[in-house]
Symmetry: C2
Subunit: 119 residues, 2 copies
């Protein structure tokens, strides 16, 4: 059992993104089936189009972003949930004036990331 607070968890830059960092809130070592992470994207920052070999289950905490999934584009805000199946190309662009923050759960399986275009 673990109880933590995001303010006490280290924040790491995501090299493939711009203005993007991640916190591992509940790791794959702590939990048997899936991990919970928080991403923070500064205004104007984001992640270029890419695929993951694992699915994403996401919940937007703060801010706004344009999210491309497959051939559709969405604008998301606090309270949006996003499910991205494994292998589907997706990108994020933080828009608005405050950081875009979201939770993202992934299964405890190897994740192969393929960047499809530069940021």
């Amino acid at each position: 059992m673990t109880v933590k607070h995001v303010d006490d968890i280290s924040v790491n830059e995501v090299p493939a993104g711009s203005g993007t960092s991640v916190q591992v809130l509940i790791s794959g070592e702590e939990a048997p089936n899936f991990a919970l992470r928080r991403f923070i994207m500064e205004p104007g920052g984001g992640m270029p189009l890419h695929t993951n070999s694992v699915e994403h289950e996401q919940y937007v905490l703060r801010g706004r972003a344009r999210v491309t999934i497959g051939d559709e584009e969405f604008e998301v805000r606090a309270g949006n949930t996003v499910f991205i199946p494994a292998g589907v190309p997706h990108s994020y662009r933080s828009v608005g004036e405050e950081p875009f923050e979201f939770l993202c759960s992934v299964p405890n399986e190897p994740d192969t990331v393929e960047i499809l275009e530069s940021g």
Copy 2:
């Protein structure tokens, strides 16, 4: 792929709790490995001590609660993460003046719930 907003998702009472409701944000039918739910506990509401046969990965969105896990008690607030392993007794009591809201992910496995004491 699905993109939804919590404001558009039905809210269902949790009969085993008091003042407690749940929304299924990403269901076990939509996603292959785990489901994402949001729980809402009115001030004074909560869930009595119980066990689940699956683990919980949680993130507190709003409000405050006293959470008992095993033989420890915690007070949690927005930004707390909670990992409760399968089979460990736990309870929730919403304290403070606004609803206690948290996300809770569970694996797509049968969940047997055992209530250990009345609320």
